[in-house]
Subunit: 219 residues, 2 copies
DNA sequence: TAGGCTTTGTCAGTTTTCTGTCAGACTAAC
DNA sequence: GTTAGTCTGACAGAAAACTGACAAAGCCTA
């Protein structure tokens, strides 16, 4: 895991850097918000550990700016402050987690693992709804542990529906997703695909709301 | 945001449920791991608040099992324990965040927002009046936790009425909203829709004020 | 390259569901 | 009791969705 550590306290910074290295992570340690910004522009990071107080800027302002610029990397804030109102400011400013000094290194690592895991989960992102399971990487689908063969388009459509997590998804959305608008197809193409999907998954898995769209039901 | 609250302490549970409702979230409160599992099988949630100690199972085991089964919903664990080793166990068991009792409600909300944001869950603007709940996002309606199927137009009309928050809303307003004036329909079209809505929601939910309009009553 | 198999969009016919209209009943207010 | 407004069951037209058949296209194998 590649971590950007933004901490101006030389002692804490050094020991954190050492500990992170020891933990098997790659760590870039910067001491100012300006350097942090530079680092973000230049490299890719999985995680940011951000001190609340920095010499050139409040960490929280740096964070807010970064979020505005579209940085979505998980951020764990460090601070000596324990006041709840400030924790809230931090979390609402875009932090994903929050730790008050002094803290236990092991807890820090556990929180980092938790933050990092989420990213991995998203990356591998097996989709599960009830007994239905879809693995985009492997291009596999199973229903109640039983494998089901789907064609390419059927798979795409089911994936899109499962990604929307129980929300109805319209035919035009599915069309856009499955055909990229390149191919002009009739709306009936989607209907046909849904019909074929139902034949394979059994009825009851995909429900229709007239005029709205389709969704995958928990079965 | 739809939240599953797993907490056996009746006092804490009740006050959390109230607070979450007040915050605009939909909250399903269960007291045992078994019920939590059931709830997960049946409904979709954006977030889980999980107590460490449950009557039938340790919350952490429940969580580990759920993660194994592919549940990726963010989880915030609640506990009276402050020992770091247990925090670590919680986080490594699949929790996304951790809060020790007693905690500040505002901090809890901030952490929930942070978790929800991470998931890129749009803060779904749930409409709630008494036991009636409407989620425009999911196109779902429930009355006293029981789901109710509505057609597209019925849904639109109920939504408009619920948005006007206890004020009477006239037939012509509803007509404008539901038909965009494109379709010239008789006022009776709305009356028919109201009649159908009443059939589904039960009488007493929608009241009429002659010459003025309709409103949704707290039930 | 031919033949067989699968995939998939289209068509057409069918089915399902929705929904506006009508007519007659009902109701509250005067 | 009258009247205007509202309610609701029945109905029918329309819209949306479903599905079997088919054919074009792609792919694999011999």
């Amino acid at each position: 895991m590649k971590i950007l550590l933004v901490e101006d306290d030389p002692q804490l910074g050094a020991s954190l850097e050492r500990a992170l290295h020891h933990d098997g992570s790659v760590c870039e340690w910067v001491k100012t918000a300006e350097d942090a910004e530079l680092a973000l522009d230049v490299s890719f990071f999985d995680l940011i550990i951000l001190d609340w107080m920095l010499p050139d800027q409040q960490g929280i302002y740096f964070l807010k700016e970064a979020r505005k610029r579209g940085v979505t990397i998980p951020v764990l804030m460090l601070t000596a402050r324990t006041a709840t109102s400030e924790k809230i400011e931090g979390l609402d400013g875009g932090a994903d987690d929050y730790l008050t000094k002094p803290f236990d290194l092991d807890e820090l690592f556990a929180r980092l693992r938790s933050l990092g895991r989420r990213r991995e989960v998203k990356a591998s992102s097996e989709l599960v709804i009830g007994g239905l399971r879809l693995c985009p990487d492997r291009h596999e689908v199973s229903l109640n542990e039983e494998e089901i063969q789907l064609s390419k388009t059927e798979f795409l459509i089911l994936q899109k529906m499962m990604e929307s997590q129980g929300r109805y998804i319209s035919k035009s959305q599915l069309e856009e997703y499955a055909y990229n608008w390149d191919n002009c197809v009739t709306p009936n193409a989607i209907e046909a695909q849904i019909s074929r999907l139902r034949k394979r998954l059994g009825s009851g898995v995909i429900t229709t709301l007239r005029g709205v769209g389709y969704k995958v039901e928990k079965v």
